[in-house]
Amino acid sequence: MRLRIEPLKCICCGLCETVCSLNKDYVLTPMTSSIILHMEDKANYFGLVLKTKSEGLLVARPEGTSTGQQAAGSGGPGAKPILLREPCDLCGGSPKCSRICPTKCITVEG
C-alpha cells in the first residue's frame, strides 16, 4: 500500500499538511506533517513533497513525480525541513490526506 500523488490535480488547499499533523500529534500544526506543500506563488508553481518509509522523498511537482530526492521543497530553512520529520505511516491503513483531499490528487494504491 502506498500513496499516489497526481500533482496537476492539486489545487494548493493545504489540507493534507494539517490533517497529517492531526494523525501524528492530535493537534493542528504545519510543523510535523510528513507531507509538505511547496509553492512558488508568483509563478503559480506548486506541488507536494512526501517523506515515505520505503522510497525516501516522493517529490510530486507539475513536471511529474520522482522519488529519492533530497531537500527539494523542504519548506525552506525557516521551517522544519521534511528530512527531520517522521515518515508517512499511512495513518495505520486509512490515510487521512487521501480521504480529505477534495480533488483526489492524493489516492491510495496497492
Binding site: L15, V19, L28, T29, A43, P62, P102
Partner: protein, 385 residues
Amino acid sequence: MYLRNGKIGVYDLATKELEAQELSEEDNFQSLKVAERLAVELGPDPLVLGTGVLTASFVPAACAGFVWANGGFMPILGHAGVELKFSGFDFVVIKGRGNRPGYLWIRDGMIEFVEPEGMAALDSWKRTDKVRADQGDGKIQVLSVGPWGDHSNAASQVVVNYWGGEDKVGMGAEFGKRNLAAVAFRGMGELELKEPEKHFEDAVLLMSEHVQKLGKSEGIGSYSEVAKRDDFRKLFHRAVACYGCPHPCRSYLKVSEDPGEFRLMAKEPGYLHYDIPALAKAFDMGFDAKDATLAIMKCAKAGAEPVSVLSALSSPNQGAIDALLSKPSDVKNVRAANFESSFKDVGDYRSAVGLGICPRYWAKAGYDFQAVVAYAESALDVKPL
C-alpha cells in the same frame, strides 16, 4: 482553548514594545467585535489583525483572517489567515507609528518591527520578496503595500503576498500612515481540537457533500460571468485554492508564457485573479483579458486599488495605466465591493469572516451561521453567544 492560542499581542510601533494579553473564551465567536473592543480599549486608532475561531480548522474554506482599522475591515485569505493563527496570536493590535518605513514580523509568539534600508523604494511584490529572502522562508505570508499605501492615498490597497482583491476599504492608507510597509507572519504553532477524530470525519463528510453539490471548479469563472470570456479562458493556467477550499475562486492567467506550461520557467509569468469588480471594470473599459491582467498586476505592484485606477482611465491602454499610477492625485477612491458582495446581507459577510471562513465560498455552498457553528462543535466546546 480549542482552536485558539488564547493570546492577543499588543505591539507599539513607536516604542517597539510587545505586551501579551489573554483572550477570553467568551469572545470566541465574536472576532470582529473583539477587534472593535480592542481598538477602543487600546487606542487611539490602532490597527487590529484577527482570526476567526474556525480559522485553520477542517470546516471547508476555513481560511479567513482579517485586518480591522478605523471602523472598516478587509478579509485576509489564501493561506494568510491560517498562517497568522499559527504565529501564536489570535489577534495582534498594532499601535502607534513607526519612525521609518518597515515591516512587522510576527512569528512563534514574537513580534518585532524591522526597518531595513530601502524598503520605501520597493513595490509591493519586491517587499514580499525581500521579507521572504531576509527571513529565509518562502512560505512567509506578507500583507504588503506599495508606494500608494506609503503616501496614504485613499485609493491604495493592501496586497496579500502578490495579489489583490481583499482590500476594498482603503487599508493600504492605514498601513501607510503608520509607516507599515508590510506585515509578515509565519508560525510553528499548535492548535488543539476537542474531538480530533470526529472533527475530521465530519469534515470529510461535509467536504464530500460540497464537492458533489458544487462540481468541478472553473476558478473565478465558477463565481462570476466576468471570467467566462474566450480570451480569459485562453490564458487560463490553473485554479488555486485558499486553505481548505474545495471549490477555488482563484484563476491564474499566464500572460508572458504559454498558459499550458506547467514547468517552472519564468518567475513572474502571470497574475492570480479573484478581484471580480476589477476584472469587470477592465473589460468595461475595453481591455482584453491580457491587458486587463497586466493593468491589474501593475496596480497590485503599486499598491493601487484597480477599480479606482481604471475608473479614472481615459483610454484602455497600458501607457494610460502607467501615467495614472505615477500620478495618484488624478485617481479618486471608488468603493467597489468584492468579497463584501458575496451575500445580500452584510451581516452574513461579517459573521462568516468573523468565524474565519470564506464568505464567497460559503455564499455558494449555502451559509447558515448556526449550522456552521453546530457543525464545528466537534472542534470546540464553547457555544456562541
